[in-house]
Amino acid sequence: MIISEDVIRKVAKIARLELKDEEVIEFTKQIDDVLEAFKSLEKVDTKDVKPSFQPIEIKNVWREDKVKDYEWDPLSNSDNKENNYFKGPRSV
């Protein structure tokens, strides 16, 4: 096994994803199966090969750092709002 149920629980916590116990068991098996098969990437010689973060080389695009009024109502999709602000749970 490459991974264990403990690892899946740890990753789920980092990803802020609450999993049921049966999901942990099922995912551990399925994900281990996938990672085992994906290990075949190791055999590919990538010495001196540069990573391609995009399929086509793309240059940075810059714009002036100017404040712009928004052209739509960003609050229109939320019920949790107050005085023109989004309302969220306590973060600290």
Binding site: I3, V7, I8, V11, A12, I14, A15, R16, L17, E18, L19, E23, F27, Q30, I31, D33, V34, L35, A37, F38, S40, L41, E42, V44, T46, V49, K50, P51, S52, F53, Q54, P55, I56, I58, N60, V61, R63, E71, W72, D73, P74, S76, N77, S78, D79, N80, F86, K87, G88, P89, R90, S91
Partner: protein, 474 residues
């Protein structure tokens, strides 16, 4: 009536648009009852506000991960089940500027995570060629509707790793996936930013090319949009392949590819040869590691993209309890809002990017992608296009899909993942029938060489009848 004829008649005032749109909505509802291609049917179309552009009066369906102003956009997920975008994506803005009628939002695997459109909290679309079978995914709704409708229509679709070619292949329709960056992603709900491409599905090469011409071109709102001029792709609908060189990658006809499909594609290659093209077998040597590379990149990117979905600002929300912590709220919403495949991909993507595994998985995959791109670049120095089957299998039955493990499903992307990883354009065209089911043929071209694949696809279509085969309703 075909799209071109319809557009001419509307322009000449021979069609009562109000009546036509009302009938189209009724027909869409009937199709929905039978095959379920929609998540939302647009019932508030006002024909009086349509602009008299190149698509004036033409029904356009939009995959549900593309934002449409005032029309619910879910990306196929419960976590966005009530999201109504307050803005239009670049592509739907272009469609509206040209007078297109957005008739509804088509169903998809949640966030594009799937090959059969079965990963959905909504109804699973059924293949009009056999309702016990899948339409393919993730853009199952786009393929399903295009195949089932008898009214003029083109679908706006999207592919990350094969989500246009797969449903096009399974539903006997034409799907174009353009060069990465050729169409703006502004307003697309991202699955994997370095792979997502908006494209088109139509009944003919002409239809798919027409809509591509409207949506392609540079957009300053998308920093990965290529600095290319708009092009009229319909001018490449030339019935001639004389002198064109076709590469046939031997790895795309290997183990795991259905024998009946292989035979059909080889017969089609002979058809293209008889029409004046030449072909040669070639090798894309990193094909055997493309699926692994694709999934590591796609899952890593999706795990970061989906982090924004946390029950705040839009989508699934709950009343916030006093004293409830941020992480507690966030985790609870995500537990309820995401389906199984989205959860699996978030876990795998997070794992592949974690300290200690990042070099082994994520960075390694990025390097192998370079080698896959180089395979294609090398091939396109010799050949105008590459031809292969679009999918290794015929549309499977739902009861067969249930038995597949996630790994077995991923491996079925073997023909679509490599060109999607390389960001090269591809078109899937109706290539024949096996056991009464559609078989798609893939024509792949070099970056920004859409014109070559459109020319080969159009020539093939003009000299065969597969796209004309009438659907026998089952």
């Amino acid at each position: 009536m075909g799209v071109k004829e319809y557009l001419t008649q509307v322009k000449e005032g021979q069609i009562d648009l109000e009546d036509f749109v009302a009938k189209t909505v009724e027909k869409s509802k009937k199709i929905q009852e039978k095959y379920s291609p929609f998540i939302t049917i647009n019932e508030s179309i006002n024909v009086k506000t349509l602009k008299k552009g190149k698509l004036f009066g033409l029904p356009i369906s939009v995959k549900d991960n593309i934002c449409t102003k005032g029309l619910k956009t879910t990306a196929g997920s419960k976590i966005l089940h009530k999201y109504v975008p307050p803005f239009d994506s670049f592509v739907t803005r272009r469609v509206k500027e040209e007078g297109g009628v957005i008739i509804g939002k088509t169903t998809m695997d949640e966030f594009g995570h799937g090959t059969f459109n079965t990963n959905t909290p909504f109804e699973i679309p059924k293949n009009p060629w056999d309702t016990e079978r899948s339409c393919g995914g993730s853009s199952g709704g786009s393929g399903c509707l295009t195949s089932a409708c008898d009214f003029p229509h083109i679908a706006l679709s999207e592919s990350t790793g094969g989500s246009i070619s797969c449903p096009a292949s399974f539903t006997n329709t034409v799907g174009i996936t353009p060069t990465y960056g050729g169409v703006s992603r502004w307003g697309l709900i991202s699955y994997a930013n370095s792979l997502d491409k908006i494209g088109t599905i139509g009944k003919t090469v002409e239809d798919a090319s027409l809509l591509l011409s409207i949506i392609s071109g540079h957009d300053k709102m998308d920093s990965t949009s290529l600095d290319v001029k708009e092009d009229d792709y319909t001018k490449y609908l030339v019935n001639d392949v004389k002198g064109m060189k076709i590469g046939i990658p031997k790895e795309y006809f290997g183990e795991g590819i259905d024998e009946g499909i292989k035979k059909i594609i080889w017969d089609n290659i002979k058809t293209l040869e008889n029409l004046g093209a030449t072909y040669e077998e070639c090798s894309l040597s990193h094909t055997d590691v493309a699926v692994q590379t694709y999934y590591i990149i796609a899952m890593s990117e999706t795990s970061t993209n989906l982090a924004k979905l946390c029950g705040l600002r839009y989508g699934l929300e709950k009343p916030i309890k006093d004293g409830e912590g941020f992480n507690e709220y966030f985790s609870k919403i995500r537990k309820e809002g995401f389906g199984q495949e989205a959860k699996r991909r978030i876990i795998m993507g997070t794992y592949a990017r974690m300290a200690g595994y990042r070099d082994q998985f994520y960075l390694k995959a990025m390097k192998v992608r370079t080698l896959i791109i180089e395979d294609f670049k090398k091939a396109f120095k010799k050949y105008d296009v590459i031809v292969s089957p679009s999918m290794p299998i015929l549309p499977p039955k739902f009861k067969e899909i249930e038995k597949l493990t996630p790994l077995q499903v991923y491996m079925l992307d073997i023909l679509t993942n490599p060109p999607n990883l390389a960001g090269v354009p591809m078109i899937s065209v109706p290539g024949g029938f096996s056991h009464g089911l559609p078989v798609g043929m893939h024509i792949i071209a070099d970056h920004l060489q859409e014109k070559k694949m459109i020319q080969v696809a159009h020539t093939f279509e003009q000299n065969t009848d597969y796209h004309k085969k009438k659907l026998v309703m089952k």
